[in-house]
């Protein structure tokens, strides 16, 4: 069991900075999800922990020991690769046994542990098959079994579910979570899928351009995004972000509202108070805090309506061509394309971000 600590870790490939001064602690026994768009440096972070890449700056420690110069084989971690990376020439049982062999564990105990793990992840009947004879889901389980068979200090998982179909993904997601809870092994889990991140992680670390944007429990990141990137990345679709300026007094005496293209956005008294400190903002509103309403404060024209079954997304354009997505129940009247309508903004759902830095402006 061990804590993984990144301090000021930087990794460059030529001119590309893949990981940029990352400082992050994965607590002992925690499942921390690294979430970010493709190419943001998630895999590189994992490979740095595994020792498959050398870092350019900073330090990584596992279980209190600095591992910068430690060979991968001596780091005592287990990794599940995105491609699974099973040994094609070995049977399932031998694949799982491989890491135990390398640690000189006696034959009988090896057999016992392999059997044990195979039945735990439900692949006992596949023991004699080669990876080439398995389905994607089965391979994924073998990769998982090979990782958990030897009780390492930490698990590193690189998008382990991305090659599975939707139903299997939901099932395996739950299995990994319960497995991790039972084993209490520190786990660094990489994904670009925010549903995975929201449902699996004790905490999530949102990454962009090699930099950590926010580290917090998933719901916190959703409710209080630290910057415009996190706001726009979390949620599907993400938060609407509108260039805004401080306006005149709103309908409530003493509380200012924001002026945006096509109308105004009302603020709560708390947010109104902090808004006075600056003149220009990015205003963030989630689609569920918007509704189509004849008395709304924003005017927009409908670009497209996406019906998603239980709900519909009304995608509109403000006069300055900023797109705004409104989420509404499917049974509501659906506006037609090109129609001009008014949008009501729930002041409780408004977030303020600095226009320049994109950082969140707290309302307390």
């Amino acid at each position: 069991m061990g804590e993984i600590v990144f301090s000021g870790v930087t990794k460059r490939y030529g001119n590309t900075v893949a990981v940029d001064h990352v400082t992050l602690t994965v607590f002992d026994g925690e499942l921390l999800v690294l979430l970010g768009p493709s190419g943001c440096g998630k895999t590189t972070l994992l490979r740095l922990v595994a020792g498959l890449e050398d870092l350019d700056e900073g330090e990584i420690s596992i279980g209190g020991k600095i591992v910068n110069d430690v060979e991968p084989k001596d780091r005592d971690i287990a990794m599940v690769f995105q491609s699974y990376a099973l040994y094609p020439h070995l049977t399932v049982a031998k694949n799982i046994e491989f890491p135990l062999r390398q640690r000189g564990i006696p034959h009988d105990e090896r057999q016992r542990r392999v059997q044990d793990v195979m039945s735990r992840v439900g692949i006992a009947e596949l023991a004699g098959r080669k990876p080439g004879q398995l389905s994607g889901g089965q391979r994924q389980r073998v990769a998982l079994a090979r990782a958990i068979v030897r009780d390492p200090q930490a698990f590193l998982m690189d998008e382990p579910l991305s090659n599975l179909d939707a139903a299997l993904r939901v099932q395996t997601r739950a299995d990994i979570v319960s497995l991790q809870q039972r084993l209490e092994t520190t786990t660094l889990y990489v994904t670009h899928d925010q549903v995975e991140a929201m449902t699996m992680g004790h905490r999530i670390a949102v990454v962009n351009h090699g930099e950590i944007q926010q580290v917090s429990p998933p719901q916190d990141a959703y409710d209080r995004p630290a910057n415009t990137f996190v706001a726009g990345f979390l949620g599907s679709p993400g938060m609407n972000l509108l260039p805004a300026a401080l306006g005149e007094q709103g309908p409530d005496a003493g509380v200012p509202s924001l002026v945006v293209s096509g109308g105004t956005i009302p603020l709560t008294p708390e947010l109104g108070a902090v808004a006075r400190t600056a003149a220009r903002f990015k205003a963030g509103v989630r689609p569920e805090s918007l509704s189509v309403d004849p008395d709304g404060s924003l005017e927009a024209s409908v670009v497209i309506v996406e019906a998603l079954g239980a709900e519909a997304l009304v995608i509109c354009e403000l006069p300055d061509h900023t797109q705004v997505v409104v989420r509404q129940d499917a049974d509501r009247h659906r506006p037609g394309i090109g129609e001009t309508l008014r949008i009501r903004v729930d002041p409780v759902g408004v977030h303020l971000f600095d226009a320049e830095t994109g950082l969140r402006i707290e309302d307390r």
Partner: protein
């Protein structure tokens, strides 16, 4: 769809297929005719030659003896000794040629600055002419100005005239010449191995040595077996090196007289086309059987899905 319509479609499809086949044959015709003249015709002509005994003195007509001389040639001490020499040569060349190629491929597989230059150098023996490289080796093994006297070693008789060392010397050169192809084959094999599988092994606790023997080599086995087949055929067919380094007049000639060379000298110096034809067929069959055996073995041993 009406049956008549289905029928007429089928006819149309068949005639289109015929037309395509016709075009296909037309396109391979030039290659086929070249092969016919230089490969197929001599190949079959050789079987006929084997049935005729060459006259004791050149100029007289050869006469038909059927299979009579086949047994004679195949049991002759000249043929048997040649066969032993050939197998000895194969044993000297094949493992060494493959191992050196594998070693260089592993070395050059690493992502280092300037490694591309080494890749070019290592594979260059493929495009080096046998005559040129044989002359280089001839100079290296020269008893007066060669490498050995320079190192202070002057064996007597000289290496290329020694009944013991002539064959190994030719084998060394054959290995050297084969390195390029061996390197290319092994490099291609290494490139087909997933980098992530090797990394998984390292993370799983394997040392570089273990990764190589337990993962790389097993995954390379189709390549290795392919290499064995190619190298064996190559060794069986080595001719130029022997002719240039040793030659017919050399005292050590009898000890490097592999089948290919024996066929050549029998035909050219012995002027015995019947005998040469029988030995050619023997060499052909040996190579064929060995290759088939190796391919069978490959299929059995090296079968694993991706």
């Amino acid at each position: 769809m009406a049956p008549a319509e289905v029928g007429s479609r089928r006819v149309a499809r068949r005639s289109r297929r015929l037309r395509e086949a016709g075009l296909g044959y037309l396109l391979v015709l030039p290659a086929l005719s070249v092969f016919g003249v230089f490969v197929f015709y001599p190949f079959f002509r050789n079987f006929k030659l084997a049935l005729y005994q060459s006259p004791p003195y050149p100029g007289l007509p050869s006469h038909y003896v059927g299979l009579h001389q086949v047994g004679q040639v195949l049991t002759s001490s000249n043929f048997l000794q040649s066969l032993v020499t050939t197998f000895l040569f194969v044993v000297l060349v094949v493992p060494a040629g493959l191992l050196v190629g594998l070693f260089l491929a592993v070395v050059a597989h690493r992502k280092l600055r300037g490694i591309a230059a080494y890749r070019v150098i290592f594979s260059s023996t493929v495009v080096t002419s046998v005559a040129v490289s044989a002359l280089v080796f001839y100079s290296l093994m020269n008893p007066v100005v060669g490498l050995l006297p320079w190192l202070g070693i002057s064996p007597h008789p000289p290496v290329l005239e020694s009944t013991t060392w002539a064959l190994p010397a030719v084998a060394i050169m054959a290995v050297w010449q084969f390195i390029g192809l061996s390197f290319i084959i092994m490099s291609a094999g290494l490139q087909s191995i997933s980098e992530e599988v090797l990394e998984a092994a390292r993370v799983d606790g394997a040392s570089n040595w273990t990764v190589f023997w337990r993962v790389t080599v097993p995954l390379l086995s189709p390549t290795l077996f392919f290499g064995v087949v190619v190298a064996t055929i190559y060794a069986f067919q080595t001719f130029g090196q022997i002719d240039i380094l040793i030659g017919y007049q050399n005292a050590a000639y009898e000890h490097v007289n592999v089948l290919v060379y024996n066929i050549y000298t029998t035909l050219v110096y012995g002027e015995n086309s019947g005998r040469a034809a029988v030995m050619s067929i023997a060499l052909f069959l040996i190579t064929l059987v060995l290759t088939l055996l190796q391919l069978r073995f490959i299929e059995r041993r090296v079968q694993y899905a991706r």
